[in-house]
């Protein structure tokens, strides 16, 4: 069983310091819990999380030991799974109640990066980006322009026609970043995006992610157990045995 203690409300935000009125929160999590049924019929609590509010443009790291529920949290935020108890509101909407619109909501609202498999192996880098754009209903012209710009910025210009298997791990993760942001979602979820990378590549990927999210004022939530990543992001949510803000 894992839990989170405390949340962002305990830290004075930039809005409180500047005296300006803060923007409306993008993400509001009440106390939530996720249980899974075990083969023997008993329930196993995978995650227990206290209230959490996050704003557009914030970059948050979620840390905790393996099995602490980081992936479960991200999957709930992406509306892949629903909390057993509690509520997750995105822009004021309870995402557990999206019903059939869940996939369409995710296509528009979420950019997701996995630790490893982030690109369809049968498609080139550019095709992966165009497919993601198509699923998110980005017009083709706009998608082509964004893809070209992103690939140049991420140093993948010469690799756009390569299949994922032909890329280095670092290139793959940079392509994953491009794929996750091409449709300009308001929330980017990254599940251990640097776990397979060396320090230099990890630094590049996190820098690109934070820059791109900041530019579009997207909320970035990164599940990680990498201290360097945690330090690179301004806000940390710890779950599991090390739970503390």
């Amino acid at each position: 069983m894992t839990e989170i203690k405390g949340d962002a409300e305990k830290i004075p935000s930039i809005w409180q310091i500047s005296g300006e009125s803060p923007p409306r929160p993008l993400l509001e999590i009440s106390s939530i819990r996720k249980d899974y049924r075990q083969p023997d019929g008993s329930n196993m609590t995978a995650l227990r999380l206290g209230p959490l509010t996050a704003y557009p443009g914030e970059a948050i790291s979620v840390t905790g030991p393996s099995g602490s529920g980081k992936t479960t949290l991200l999957r709930m935020l992406a509306a892949i799974t629903k909390p057993t108890f509690g509520e997750i509101r995105f822009a004021g909407q309870d995402i557990a109640r999206l019903g059939n619109a869940e996939a369409a909501w995710r296509a528009v609202s979420v950019g997701y990066i996995f630790q490893d498999i982030n690109l369809l192996p049968d498609f080139s880098v550019l095709e992966n980006l165009m497919l993601a754009s198509e699923i998110s209903h980005v017009p083709v012209k706009a998608a082509e322009s964004r893809a070209s710009s992103l690939l140049t910025r991420l140093g993948l210009d010469g690799r756009k026609d390569s299949r994922p298997a032909k890329l280095s791990i670092g290139e793959r993760q940079r392509a994953a970043v491009a794929r996750a942001v091409i449709h300009r979602p308001p929330m980017i979820l990254a599940d251990e995006p640097t776990a397979s990378l060396d320090a230099e590549n990890a630094r590049v990927v996190i820098r690109m992610l934070t820059e791109l999210c900041a530019e579009r004022r997207a909320l970035l939530i990164v599940a990680t157990h990498d201290d360097a990543v945690r330090r690179a992001l301004p806000r940390t949510v710890k779950i599991g045995s090390e739970a503390a803000l």
Binding site: E102, F123, A132
Partner: protein, 394 residues
């Protein structure tokens, strides 16, 4: 997600893994092809027998086994059992119940192919109102020692109008007759045993065997191996059958009836073949579903990625189903071609070696095999797709 996108993703998954696709399609193609081939072999053999007997309503020959008579006269196989005396043959020809009587003298060969002595009356035989024996090249004979060559005989021997050949008494290795025959025509295919025949004027056969008193027991002086008869009516056919039941000089049989009896013996083998066909079809189906299941299982990460990109479960299932169904369709279509081509080749060889020329028109039974495989496979692929795209907990 648009239908075209679903189709594009499914097609790309197939085309980007050529070895895997080739393996899967090959397994489906060979197993479904085997099912089709077995079905065609069983029904084609029966159809070939039916085609062979179609031109001949009644066969009359020397008393003995009706099977041997039909094998001799209709299928041009085996050694003739003996001849009908000239007077008995004449009596049959003159019978008021007989519309057409075609004498047949067998026993000679050329290059192992049967030489059939007969009359021009054979050109009057019709099947379903259409002339059975038609000249493709040259003309029918109008004189002694002229010959018309069956389609397959022409292909096998290379005989063409103007060529000269000598017949042999009996099979290969027998004594060669002295007077040569001149080929004057080549027939269209009759899709039956007579494609292998070389037709000559029966009077020339009698002349060959009378010449020099060679002592052969074959045709001479109006004796014939058999009479192929077209009765005036069904009643006349049964009347003839009844009249000749106690006749000592010859027997009268309905070739179709005899062939059916013959086939009922073979039919037990056909039933076994059909059981094998059903078993192979079921095995094909199970193999296909298993392949689709494992192929789908190996793509779980890709489905997870597509789902997280915003592809709904329905579209994911459609991609998996389409992929499976396209592989299945390709395999079944290829299998059908392989099955048909294989059987056509086998029957082509069989037709050259024996007298049967099974033509295999498309039948509902044949279509039912790939159709059933496709239908059941598609349903299997659908459930496999549902199984793979059902929500999984991490």
């Amino acid at each position: 997600m648009r239908v075209t996108t679903v189709l594009r993703v499914a097609l790309r998954r197939i085309s980007s893994r050529p070895f895997q696709t080739f393996s899967v399609v090959s397994v489906i193609a060979f197993s479904s092809g085997l099912a089709v081939a077995l079905f065609l072999a069983a029904s084609g053999l029966r159809l070939g027998l039916v085609n062979a007997v179609a031109p001949f309503d009644i066969a009359a020959g020397v008393r003995g086994s009706p099977y041997q008579l039909v094998l001799n006269t209709v299928f041009l196989q085996d050694v003739p059992a003996g001849n009908i005396p000239a007077d008995a043959a004449q009596r049959l020809s003159d019978d008021s119940r007989v519309d057409l009587a075609i004498p047949v003298a067998l026993g000679d060969t050329y290059a192992g192919l049967p030489v059939v002595g007969t009359t021009s009356a054979i050109t009057d035989v019709k099947v379903k109102g259409v002339p059975w024996l038609r000249i493709k090249e040259g003309r029918f004979w109008d004189g002694a020692f002229e010959a018309v060559v069956g389609a397959k005989a022409a292909a096998l021997t290379g005989l063409r109008p103007g060529d000269i050949f000598r017949t042999t008494h009996g099979s290969i290795g027998g004594e060669e007759h002295g007077t040569p025959f001149k080929v004057v025509g080549v027939c269209h295919s009759v899709h039956g045993p007579y494609d292998r025949a070389i037709l000559v004027d029966i009077a020339s056969v009698w002349a060959e065997h009378d010449h020099g008193g060679d002592g052969h027991e074959s045709e001479s002086g109006g004796e014939v191996t058999a009479m192929l008869i077209r009765p005036r009516s069904y009643a006349d056919a049964y009347g003839l059958l009844a009249s000749y039941q106690r006749d000592q000089s010859c027997q009268v049989v309905f070739p179709a009836q005899t062939a059916v009896r013959l086939f009922s013996i073979i039919g037990q083998g056909e039933e076994f073949l059909r059981a094998v066909v059903r078993s192979v079809a079921v095995c094909t189906l199970l193999t296909t579903i298993l392949i689709l299941y494992w192929s789908g299982a190996s793509r779980r990460d890709e489905r997870e990625l597509l789902h997280i990109l915003g592809v709904p479960h329905g579209a994911l299932a459609a991609i998996s189903w389409l992929e499976g169904t396209m592989l299945l369709s390709s395999g079944v279509a290829l299998g059908w071609i392989i099955g048909r081509a294989g059987v056509a080749a086998a029957f082509g060889l069989l037709g050259n070696a024996t007298a049967i020329e099974p033509t295999i028109p498309l039948s509902a039974g044949e279509i039912s095999i790939p159709a059933a495989l496709l239908a059941a496979g598609s349903i299997g692929a659908f459930f496999t797709a549902l199984e793979h795209t059902s929500d999984r907990q991490p």
